[in-house]
Symmetry: D2
Subunit: 356 residues, 4 copies
Amino acid sequence: MGVWPMPRDTRPERDPDMIIIMKPGASNEQVEHVVQLVREFGLKENILQGTDRTVIAAIGDKRAVDKGAIETAPGVEKVMAIFSAYKMVSKEVIREKTAIEIGPDKFPIGGRKVGLIAGPCAVESRDQLLRTADAVKSAGAIGLRGGAYKPRTSPYSFQGMREEGLEILAEARDLTGLAVVTEVIGLESLPLVEQYADVLQIGARNMQNYPLLEAVGKSSKPVLLKRGISATLDEWLLAAEYVVNGGNASVILCERGIRTYEQYVRNTLALAVVPELNDRTHLPVVVDPSHGTGHARLVPAMCRAAVAAGADGLLVECHIDPEHAASDGAQTITPAALAEVMQQARRIAEAIGREM
Amino acid sequence: MGVWPMPRDTRPERDPDMIIIMKPGASNEQVEHVVQLVREFGLKENILQGTDRTVIAAIGDKRAVDKGAIETAPGVEKVMAIFSAYKMVSKEVIREKTAIEIGPDKFPIGGRKVGLIAGPCAVESRDQLLRTADAVKSAGAIGLRGGAYKPRTSPYSFQGMREEGLEILAEARDLTGLAVVTEVIGLESLPLVEQYADVLQIGARNMQNYPLLEAVGKSSKPVLLKRGISATLDEWLLAAEYVVNGGNASVILCERGIRTYEQYVRNTLALAVVPELNDRTHLPVVVDPSHGTGHARLVPAMCRAAVAAGADGLLVECHIDPEHAASDGAQTITPAALAEVMQQARRIAEAIGREM
Amino acid sequence: MGVWPMPRDTRPERDPDMIIIMKPGASNEQVEHVVQLVREFGLKENILQGTDRTVIAAIGDKRAVDKGAIETAPGVEKVMAIFSAYKMVSKEVIREKTAIEIGPDKFPIGGRKVGLIAGPCAVESRDQLLRTADAVKSAGAIGLRGGAYKPRTSPYSFQGMREEGLEILAEARDLTGLAVVTEVIGLESLPLVEQYADVLQIGARNMQNYPLLEAVGKSSKPVLLKRGISATLDEWLLAAEYVVNGGNASVILCERGIRTYEQYVRNTLALAVVPELNDRTHLPVVVDPSHGTGHARLVPAMCRAAVAAGADGLLVECHIDPEHAASDGAQTITPAALAEVMQQARRIAEAIGREM
Amino acid sequence: MGVWPMPRDTRPERDPDMIIIMKPGASNEQVEHVVQLVREFGLKENILQGTDRTVIAAIGDKRAVDKGAIETAPGVEKVMAIFSAYKMVSKEVIREKTAIEIGPDKFPIGGRKVGLIAGPCAVESRDQLLRTADAVKSAGAIGLRGGAYKPRTSPYSFQGMREEGLEILAEARDLTGLAVVTEVIGLESLPLVEQYADVLQIGARNMQNYPLLEAVGKSSKPVLLKRGISATLDEWLLAAEYVVNGGNASVILCERGIRTYEQYVRNTLALAVVPELNDRTHLPVVVDPSHGTGHARLVPAMCRAAVAAGADGLLVECHIDPEHAASDGAQTITPAALAEVMQQARRIAEAIGREM
């Protein structure tokens, strides 16, 4: 009946690279049993005899194995994996940073120029959006953000203008030349969003929505993949791997803050992720200081810091009237504040040999 | 033409209940401006004059307002919401605990008896599942867990047996009478899963997949809603509210550990959530000590602790051969270990006036 | 003239046990350079050649080396330590659980009986303390907690009754036979506290106050060492190692909740730590559900869960009039509530083959 | 006997500012009882009647009250404090940023110029320190860091050269003019450290070591107060308040990363704290990207980001030979790397209207 377990030696070829640490006093039989398990995985064991205990290193040639199972074998203290399972998004595969062109003007995110994407949390009305689009264009944006489908924590909150919102976004693009970056929240609405958007945003809550990742992996539109609210780098890069593995190599990573014990911010903006990702992956990295802090008063400093840290772009919530924004008002800045921070950000970009 | 903002006084009727704290030295004009904003929300202000500053309390009769927007008004230091937005899942609405009947034997989760749901992480083969089902039935289980669709962090990991897995689960139910609890990972596969399952499991990664929550809200099958990996209680209860608001009142909450700085466990099992949920909601609460710790050696103690804390059920990963499990092997216990812990758990249930 | 670096081969003898992972494409020279560094540490290298990269395992006989330095060598991707540095507190050294006798009645914490230590956060007055001592004794306590020196977050908060408080505690012991457990906050007050106390409590904020740990390491009184608010298990056990290494083998570990993103509790009580510590160390483990939750309403369920998880004792805040407690009122239960939870806890202890 | 409770109306005068939320259905008697408790605190109640429940605001004139106690009164759902207890470090008291002069050259930390403090984790030898001091001076540093007393997680690790280390630091100051910044780990060694140091560093582990804070509060030397590893802003500012309240107004705050679930870094550097502190306190803020990341490869980008975010200084670990550093080698950069990052940091400082 079952097709699983598939024969262990036909699994995808990657390094599993396990270090198995035996308990002090583990018996020879226990060591031998673990060696058998290692060999079942198609791996070769290296037995290292310490003063206190035995360590078995299995440095092999297949990666997608569930290392954990060996932990339950008698005499095993712990099992450590030493490599991540992502491959196509890794710098080991492509050494140069990938620049991803977005919008009518094909602005290359990941190139020498740092790109600003700005706009309201949600499309609320034609007037609101068009006026905001004009304002962010003037401030120097190359992309327009704005949600037409809103994933809201409460079922009673405003859920977005949906298709009507998409139409307004498209009109704004036609008028301004800005790339439209908007969220897709499910397979049902994907065809419609794909039709209007220049960049498909996957929100933090959907970072591990695998059917959705597989679906945008088949799209021809670039994907902006937000980090999940408490995602590790490996989980995030593996989510990107789903999209790339599905056939869509145009993935932009977006750091938007993580959940920690801190309470004066909505999220903790973990900017060290920028140089770390630049070490690990060829994909471009943008930063969202709006969700990354939750407070308009902190957004300008974090825009500056993100550019200084080496981000390829900024994603900023901006609204012509934040006090009356339908959502995320507290973290939304005005066009005037955006224009001011852009002047500083530009000088910082130049200080590190880039432009904005 | 946007339909938003909808007139503020037609929004759902709940308390918004904001406390707005002005900066020391805020001017009368600034206070007056905030009062205007409060009134725009259809609320009545209460102005409290402290020695250092002014506090404005808006205790009103509408809840689904984005409180944050007021934070950007001049002179405002911070805005505090004082109530959650969930309603139907709250004990304010239904004071008695809801018992939800599952499976062919209509076992009431949330009643006096504590229910054990056990089984492998994934259905791997007919033989593996049927033997495990027999074993967990003997140990005292009333439900059988097992994934046919697996949301996997890596695209290269085993993704589940899908429909074939569902058929095997159904066969196991027919043979044992156990309720089948299995995960649904997307709208596409929901109709099929719904056809075979007794309980639809929403995994931690999908806790805020709102289209999916809305869809299972229209199902006639009970839903087991796992807590998101770093979800707050409010976010979790609002996710449950999505399901109940959609028309399906049969929601079982499942604590499965949260992400913290701790590294010796896969997740930190936050058991105080059990008495807290028993205070806040009428929905039953089960605990998953397998994901909640990540290590088989810790599972028995956490099964005992969960029952002692007042859980209505346990969800435990059990496999006839954990060393060869296709996934989650490290946190999977044997049928023998399960049987042993059940004996202790039963005595603990009796110690607090319940049965198991 | 500096005495450091001490010759590498005279450092304390423990396993350093490093796994050094080279970058893909690291050159032979880079590998050779790392091997040289490993040998400088007095270790022997094991070179494992994978398909993608080289892994160097240094499984040796010296432990207290700063592994990190090798990370900065060219071509190194990362360095993993595989063992902890604690030794004397480890089960590798002493396999049986240590029972530590406390108070006039020499109650053995860590024996078959689970011990209850209860009392107010702070000694506030003679009347308050003596009445509370009577009440907790009646409920079944074997120890009396109560702070005479209070480490307070704010300099403006009540700092404790100091020597007068110690005298009252001693009087309570004389009247009831309860062991006095009280906090020591610095070297200055240690001699005085030592004179009155039966158990020296090291608070969470002082878990890594090394001069204090060294000082109580020279005391003849048992030490109750609380886990730091975000301490890892290794950090906590190494703090215990400081005390034991100083000459005082009587250390009781106390889990009191950790800081996480959760906000409905003051701390997240991480009960899986109980079975984990029982695996790693021979020292007894008690649980403080008062600080571990921060709310009186959650304390009884967490007392039950802690006993079920295998704790050797409970440390509970109890006050004859919680509404008027000088500190920690919100997490303090009444004597009546304590008596009730003890009845349940006793039955749970019996359910797992212990007594209380 | 007891002096506590002190009469409630003689406690320090600050706003307690409690919001007490009653349960839905709380009785009039319960509301009345809470009002009595509020009045006992010397406060005046404001009763706000919502549709579902009663809210009692106590906006008064005394701050140092334990708000929590009221939570245990019957019918109370929760109690919220709305202000912090710090006062002297607050911008409410001093609106202009305080510049604190350090070292022989009286460099003003908190002025227009951003200051670099660099040096090894620990003083290891005279040669190592003097050569490093020269190198960091050349790179543009105005201060020299280096530990003579090392708080080490393991009792078996190198604990510092102690007085000999202090002498070497003083010699380096005499030769270079750099301000000596070195850690004080306890009251015992404070007099000696005070004699040699220009700035007394309080490490993260001692941020809530109140006897030590009180002691440095009596010193004439400036204090560099590191944030505790999981300290909230309120806890950190209250620790600073201890020092200032003790009589020493010269406190420099130092962000050094917080503990989160992230594992690719030693700590998560939470840079939004810089603008937030600039809003709340007049004290200067420096950033330590070495502890803040734990990896030399991430330090340069975080130096740049910290300056861009508005930090008043950087504290960087630098060693002439990181591979052989006695501690913290992995996060230590070379003088060459330091010189390079300083060139960029200088241009970034200029981009935001400062100098470096």
